[in-house]
Amino acid sequence: MDREELTEQETALYDRQIRVWGVDAQRRLSKSHILVSGLKGTVVEFCKNVVLAGVGSLTLNDDRPVTDELLSANFLVPPDENMYGGKSVAELCCDSLKDFNPMVRVAVQKGDVSSFDVDFFDKFDVVVVSCCSLTTKKLVNEKCRKLSKRVAFYTVDCRDSCGEIFVDLQDYIYSKKKLEETIECILLYPSFEDAIAMPWRSLPKRVSKLYFAMRVIERFEEAEGRKPGETSTADLPNVLKLRKDLCEAHSLSESQIPDSLLERLLAGTREFPPVCAIVGGILGQEVIKVISGKGDPLKNFFFFDAMDGKGIIEDISKTSS
């Protein structure tokens, strides 16, 4: 690690957070490179958080043209069609984010994230994907895993007033202080594909119901060829059928995935901004932890539901069984 000092400007700007995580962590942050794909409310919150924290660069990927729905939880783009000028969501967000912190390089990468080759991801330390299909999640995750260096991979999605984060740090070694001595800890993460393939019956009963519900919806969208979030309550009967099949296959009681929860997730296609702020905040914190090497990173799922107000970590990995 090079010992170069932070500039006076950086010290002044980051004063309050250096008091939280220290100068070394700040230096590491300023050398890190992050890719985000799928710019809905939660990811926009995340982008704000890491740009403020002072990462080295942030690359935005989302070619979709701006729509009202896309902007419902977006505070980066003013709702003025005259200003869109045929630009994509990523391009419009980029202009705003640059303004937040002139010390962070914010750029746009056009294209479909699932089509980028392995080498493309080598440029990044952290990759976050959102609003994409199950296949894309698996694919990008696998590409990140093929690289010789560790690229931290995250997925994040919010539906109605619920949110989910998945984390794959592969094998993550970090040191933490236990009493007087520093001990080395190793966390082994499964890929997204391996994690969700874990038999449900091998999971603890207290696993958040959201975990199962999100898997059902994900499978439904995949099977129907829907875009993420392209659902409504009209889909409930078919989703319930799928739930029955999955529960039977996994020997899980259907009561573990309540109808009401599935109905909420299907209907709530519009983002709920407080949940975006919360989930985007947790994700930001996790990414900062991993880049700075400070603190215990979460393994490997996080769930938030505004209905009960709990923010829960679930460990869904092979190593626990």
Partner: protein, 651 residues
């Protein structure tokens, strides 16, 4: 959640604070569809805000937070109405009637004083309050609804750390003691109001009655230049005063003896003569840009300077104050954003620390301690703001049974990073929301009304515009509409002993103290008491009837011996009461709740069981993340074939 839209759109909100939490909150409220938001903040924008108060830019530095925040949010939600007030929430304009127009009040404040004030106005106006605070990765959101949940003051709040006078003036054992000395005594003496009582002064004149030290050493002499003056002050406070202290053998029986430090011992002659390059230096314009570090070529605020470097900074900073900021001398008070003041205090504290064998600290660390800077990051503020909006919506829907107090934790507790807890019921002995009388032990023959007003009415009761009555006799009152005779009368009363007031206050007297703005009345039963312990009861009076902050007594004891340092991040956060916009305090999280009262849990289902005491401890210290207890891994799985439950232990 769509069904909430009508309550959201019809609501009128008051936000107090447009800082770290405020910026995030205003953004999230606007996105959530709120249409009528009023926001109060007296502060202006500073550079150190920009790392998290994302509605502000470099170009906004110096402007009103409330106004800039409004402009920034209206840009992405032009159709909503945001009314900014660049004002202090304690201004009389913001009275009970003002508060009554809102459906809910949301606090994003940075100090105890304002929080208490808003709490009282919300109680008086019967408007629910959503209170919040963050520090580092910790945060908390609470709903205070009159008669339904506890008010902000139902539980004791940790009071600001205080140190016994002798620890500061004579026997410092920790760096923070040196900082307090440098900031509150030396800096105040040199650059603040000369007429103010100051223990540094007392010690100086006490020390020698006949010698030159009997006169005010801080007055510069006719024949000395600024360099000579600086060196004389240096030798006096770090050399002579230590020698005087050393002469009191009793003090050092069980302590390490300090070492007097004189300029000649620390700086070589040539350095003494040409310290810094202030005369050649080009600094002009903004007086806050004057810097001793810059003129001495020291760059890194993270470096710990040697005694020599500290001495050079001390002399240089002192000189710069007199040469570049002469006009302000006599009116300055320490400000953590005043570079030269921070340099002076850092250097003075370090020289004193060196003298007492206490480890030296960097300017960065010293600034944090001196300015009581609380660690702040954007993510926690964003999360807390989201939780505030969720609670605000419940308040608007009158969904009382679902109100939650939520903790944002750094390390998971029982798998949770965000932990909701059922709110407390109001405390029946709370003097704020239950009108329980208080009792005051005081020496009525030796204490003046002024002591009572300063130490009880303002400091303890947090009143802004107090009125004090004994029976039907008005003893004291504050307000704009008083005529001159009355003001003079009250001024005279302030200087009178309690027992000699027009209506004498003695043991058994019941005083009524009222704040007309806060619409709060308390009755205080006065008990006369002759003596108080100077160290343990420095106020010379004791107010009881509401639980005292548990930390207060402990601090007093600790600072006598090995007091706790405020520099460590794992430490309980020092509570700041002077207005500092960067302080976002979590009183309950950082201090833990009153241990005898157990919080009920929000969810009886199963995931969380009892024992929340461990949670609160977990938030107050850098504790290991708790392993999810083994029991939680005992799972009941329904077997698809037999339908019979069986237990399976994982791991």
């Amino acid at each position: 959640m769509a069904s909430d839209l009508s309550v959201i759109e019809g609501a009128k909100l008051l936000m107090v604070g447009a800082g770290g939490i405020g910026c995030e909150l205003l953004k999230t409220l606007a996105l959530s569809g709120f249409k009528d938001i009023h926001i109060i903040d007296m502060d202006t924008i500073e550079v150190s805000n920009l790392n998290r108060q994302f509605l502000f830019r470099q170009s906004h530095v110096g402007q009103s937070k409330a106004k800039v925040a409004r402009d920034a949010v209206v840009r992405f939600r032009p159709q909503i109405s945001i009314t900014p007030y660049h004002a202090n929430v304690k201004d009389p304009d913001f009275n009970v009637d003002f508060f009554k127009q809102f459906n809910v009040v949301l606090n994003g404040l940075d100090n105890l004083d304002a929080r208490r004030h808003v709490n009282r106005l919300c109680l008086a106006a019967d408007v629910p309050l959503v209170e919040s605070g963050t520090t580092g990765f910790l945060g908390q959101v609470t709903v205070h609804a009159k008669g339904k949940t506890e008010c902000y003051e139902c539980q004791p709040k940790p009071s600001p750390k205080t140190y016994p006078v002798c620890t500061i003036t004579s026997t410092p054992s920790k760096f923070v003691h040196c900082i307090v000395w440098a900031k509150d005594l030396l800096f105040a003496k040199m650059f603040g109001d000369k007429n103010q009582e100051n223990d540094l002064n007392v010690r100086t004149s006490d020390a020698a009655s006949s010698s030159e030290h009997a006169e005010d050493v801080f007055e510069s002499k006719k024949d000395e230049d600024i360099e000579q003056y600086g060196r004389r002050i240096y030798d006096h406070v770090f050399g002579y005063n230590i020698e005087v202290a050393l002469s009191n053998e009793e003090t050092w029986k069980n302590r390490n003896r300090p070492r007097p430090v004189y300029v000649r011992d620390v700086l070589a002659t040539e350095l003494i003569q040409q310290n810094g390059n202030v005369d050649k230096d080009l600094v002009a314009g903004d007086p806050l840009s004057v810097s001793a570090m810059a003129s001495l070529g020291l760059k890194n605020p993270q470096d710990v300077w040697s005694l020599m470097e500290n001495s050079r900074i001390f002399l240089e900073a002192l000189k710069l104050f007199f040469l570049k900021r002469q006009k302000e001398i006599g009116n300055l008070s320490f400000d953590k954003d005043d570079q030269l003041a921070v340099e002076f205090v850092t250097a003075a504290a370090n020289i004193r620390a060196a003298s007492f064998g206490i480890p030296l600290h960097s300017l960065f660390e010293a600034k944090g301690i001196a300015g009581n800077i609380v660690h702040a990051v954007a993510t926690t503020n964003a999360i807390i703001a989201g939780l505030i909006v969720i609670e605000a919506i419940k308040v608007l829907r009158k969904d009382t049974s679902n109100y939650r107090m939520t903790y944002c934790l750094e390390h998971p507790s029982r798998k949770m990073l965000l932990m909701p807890v059922e709110p407390f019921e109001p405390n029946k002995s709370c003097y704020v929301c239950s009108e329980t009388p208080l009792s005051l032990e005081i020496n009525t023959k030796r204490s003046k009304l002024r002591d009572f007003v300063e130490k009880v009415v303002k400091a303890k009761l947090g009143m802004n515009l107090p009125l004090i009555m004994h029976g039907q006799v008005l003893l004291y009152e504050v307000g704009d509409d008083l005529d001159e005779d009355m003001v003079a009368n009250y001024e005279a009363n302030l200087e009178k002993l309690l027992s000699e007031l027009p209506s004498p206050v003695t043991g058994g007297t019941i005083l009524t103290v009222e704040d007309l703005q806060q619409e709060l009345t308390c009755n205080i039963n006065v008990k006369h008491r002759e003596d108080f312990d100077e160290e343990k009861e420095p106020d010379g009076m004791i107010l009881s009837g509401w639980t005292q902050p548990p930390a207060a007594e402990k601090d007093g004891k600790e600072s006598m011996g090995n007091g706790a340092s405020t520099s460590s991040a794992s430490q309980a956060i020092p509570l700041e009461t002077i207005g500092d916009d960067d302080i976002e305090i979590v009183p309950v999280v950082t201090e833990g709740v009153a241990p005898e009262r157990k919080r009920k849990l929000s969810d009886t289902s199963n995931a969380v069981t009892s024992d929340l005491s461990s949670v609160e401890h977990g938030t107050s210290s850098k504790k290991k993340p708790q392993e999810i207890d083994d029991d939680s891994d005992v799972v009941m799985l329904e077997d698809g074939d037999s339908g019979i439950s069986k237990k399976k232990r994982l791991r």
